[in-house]
């Protein structure tokens, strides 16, 4: 759908005394499949959490296409086209597969989508401002009443939107290989299916930028290979930009066009898979300084 070019400028995330991210900058052009790697605790998931509004970055700027988006609430970021999956699968466990996907379609059904209009970057005193000003309240209340009336009265427009969403959801489930499992409860799906369902749900939001947090974690080589194929297909078919966190080097090297390496919250390398593989700082981060020396010596 959208372009989904991501620009990160000097991003920092400080938790009390702990600096989880410091001065991270990167450019991901629209349509790229970009890898994010680094040892455990390097700040990769924190980076995703900043991008999706789970955390509010303490420094730096985030730009999505031509819009500055840092500090926006999660649901607004989602409406602007940022969607994600989770390292530890977080499906709506007691909802069916198709319902999970339909939640992803939420803002595209009926009178929705209007939330995007409120995408104003909040100031430092946003919470206070929100409390004191009731400017948006009457309009929001009116919108709520209209939406409730639509749900109760179920006019043809709402019915049609709902049916379209169901059709889209079926298509998406088919696209990730879950056709025929629409009415299974998410919790009852096998592990690999749950991962794929998360991808389908994320796609239902019609993302410009899709963030995949370890999409192949816990998968065997065949399943991983299938996931790699799926990621490529998604990029081509849905025209999204993809940023993925990944530990399996085979996957990273196989699917990513460029890679950013994080270590202790800092960017230590960036480039094509081949470039990153040769980078001494990367080898050092993963294997320690001796490994670098040995690699330099050419000795085993």
């Amino acid at each position: 759908m959208a372009a989904g070019a991501l620009s990160v400028r000097g991003l920092g995330m400080q938790f009390e005394g702990l600096s989880a991210l410091a001065d991270v900058s990167m450019e991901v052009p629209a349509g790229e499949i970009h890898g994010l790697i680094g040892p455990n605790g390097a700040g990769k998931t924190t980076f995703f959490n900043c991008l999706t509004g789970f955390y509010r970055p303490t420094a730096g700027e985030l730009w999505l296409d031509a819009q500055r988006v840092d500090g926006l609430p999660t649901h607004v970021l989602s409406a602007l086209g940022v969607s994600r999956t989770f390292q530890n699968i977080r499906l709506f466990a007691n909802m069916t597969a198709i319902e999970n996907v339909l939640v992803g379609s939420h803002i595209h059904i009926g009178v929705g989508g209007t939330d995007v209009l409120t995408a104003r970057r909040p100031s430092k005193y946003a919470a206070l401002e929100r409390m004191l000003s009731l400017r948006g309240a009457p309009r929001a209340a009116l919108q709520g009443v209209v939406e409730l009336a639509g749900a109760v009265g179920r006019p043809p427009a709402v019915r049609r939107a709902e049916m379209e969403a169901v059709n889209t959801a079926r298509t998406l489930l088919g696209a990730v290989g879950l056709a025929g499992k629409e009415n299974a409860l998410a919790r009852n799906l096998p592990y690999g299916d749950q991962r794929r369902l998360e991808v389908a749900r994320a796609l239902a939001t019609r993302p410009g930028l899709l963030l995949l947090d370890e999409p192949t974690a816990g998968m065997n080589p065949q399943e991983s290979a299938a996931m790699v194929g799926l990621i490529r297909r998604i990029r081509d078919q849905f025209e999204t930009t993809v940023v993925l966190i990944e530990h399996q080097m085979r996957v990273v090297m196989g699917v990513c066009e460029r890679i950013t390496v994080l270590d202790y919250g800092r960017k230590i390398a960036e480039g094509t898979p081949a470039e990153v593989q040769r980078d001494t700082r990367v080898i050092e981060a993963y294997l320690g300084t001796r490994a670098v020396k040995e690699a330099g010596d050419g000795s085993p």
């Binding site: 109760v152 709902e162 998410a186």
Partner: protein, 383 residues
């Protein structure tokens, strides 16, 4: 077409879904021709708690927000009608019932939003405690602000509805009135459940952070749930105040909140048939125990009482004066309803929670949740 349909409540009977409710309602509508006034009065209260239960169900069952202060909205509705129509009200407005009905609902809804705003970031236990406090605040307000609420004196001669020259006054009239209200509320609740709003609520219940990441505006939908629940509570309050004709703060204690939440949980959270059954068991049954018919019926068991008292007397010969005698058998129902009611109900609650934790008539979904509890690979299990 709608995937929610397949998961709809399907435990009433074997009739096709579409025919089930009209048939049930037709049977219920015939009851006034079959039963005496005390029964119809009892059924009014059952209907009232069905309305309240359906409203709270939206908040607790659909959106997963545990609200223990539901009485606040019930009181808001009841006092709206009381203050605006009672001749004893400090304002002496003397308004028409039909004008106050929507006003009362609206006032209760704004109370819902008012409560919702500060508790938005709270979850689970914390939410329960704050809502509990809110219910108490409202009760204390009713007692202490005599210039607004007439305090513990209460408000009397509250307006009753008229349709043209026809006045709703007999138990039968009220029975039909509450029946219509319950049908409307039930219809609205089921429509909401099967819409994107219902899905958003459910997603928030499951994992509100992820729901937000999927584009659901948490603030909006939580407030919506509170507002809907509160307006139904307000509606119940208006109807109750008009039916009773007199209200004072004593009628709006924590007990009401507990009764409504018990109706929802015993019946089965998220399930409409569950709310109906829960209300019959928790609200209807204790009243039936107090009926004269029940006393007459139990009177036939005088021989059982004699027998039991015989056994007691035998014990008494061993340790004289240790045990009292059972009262007359005809009094058993009343005794049970008065003194022992809470013991019996406590035991019943525990029993139901142990034997059927999903409630008497669980929603299809809840049933699945409980059935599949032990599966080895739960989604999000690593969280």
């Amino acid at each position: 077409m709608n995937p929610m349909r397949q998961l709809g409540d399907s435990t009433v009977g074997r009739l096709p879904g579409a025919a089930r409710w009209p048939l049930f309602l037709a049977l219920v509508a015939m009851l006034p021709f079959l039963l005496s006034d005390v029964w119809i009065q009892m059924l009014f209260f059952v209907g009232l708690f069905i309305v309240l239960g359906l409203g709270l169900n939206v908040v607790v069952g659909f959106a997963g927000l545990l609200d223990l202060g539901y009485v606040a909205f019930f009181a808001a509705g009841a006092y709206s009608l009381g203050i605006m129509t009672s001749p004893g009200s400090p304002f002496d407005l003397d308004m028409n019932f039909w004008l106050v009905l929507p006003l009362g609902v609206l006032i209760a809804a704004s109370f819902g939003v008012l409560l919702g705003l500060p508790v938005l970031p709270l979850r689970g236990d914390y939410l329960a405690i704050v809502t509990l406090g809110f219910g108490e605040i409202i009760r204390l307000f009713l007692v202490n602000r005599e210039d607004v609420t007439a305090g513990s004196q209460g408000l009397s001669a509250i307006a009753r509805p008229e349709i043209g020259s026809f006045q709703i006054e007999t138990f039968t009239h009220w029975f039909y009135f509450i029946l219509i209200a319950a049908v409307i509320v039930g219809f609205i609740a089921s429509r909401l459940r099967d819409s994107r709003i219902g899905r958003a609520w459910e997603a928030i219940r499951e994992d509100e952070d992820v729901a937000a990441a999927m584009g659901v505006n948490k603030v909006k939908y939580k407030l919506m749930a509170f507002a809907i629940g509160a307006s139904v509570g307000g509606l119940g309050g208006v109807l109750y105040a008009s039916f009773i004709g007199f209200i004072n703060p004593a009628g709006f204690s924590l007990q009401v909140s507990i009764d409504v939440i018990a109706v929802v949980i015993i019946g089965g959270m998220g399930s409409t048939p569950g709310v109906i059954l829960g209300s019959l068991v928790l609200i209807g049954f204790p009243r039936i125990l107090q009926f004269k018919e029940t006393a007459d019926f139990l009177g036939k068991f005088e021989w059982l009482r004699d027998g039991l008292n015989g056994i007691v007397a035998a014990f008494d010969t061993v340790i004289p004066g240790s045990i009292g005698r059972l009262p007359a058998a005809s009094e058993w129902g009343r005794e049970l309803a008065d003194d022992t009611r809470f013991i019996i109900f406590g035991a019943l609650l525990v029993a139901i929670m142990v034997l059927r934790p999903e409630g008497l008539v669980p929603s299809r979904r809840r049933q699945l949740e409980f059935e599949t509890e032990d599966l080895p690979v739960p989604a999000g299990g690593a969280a």
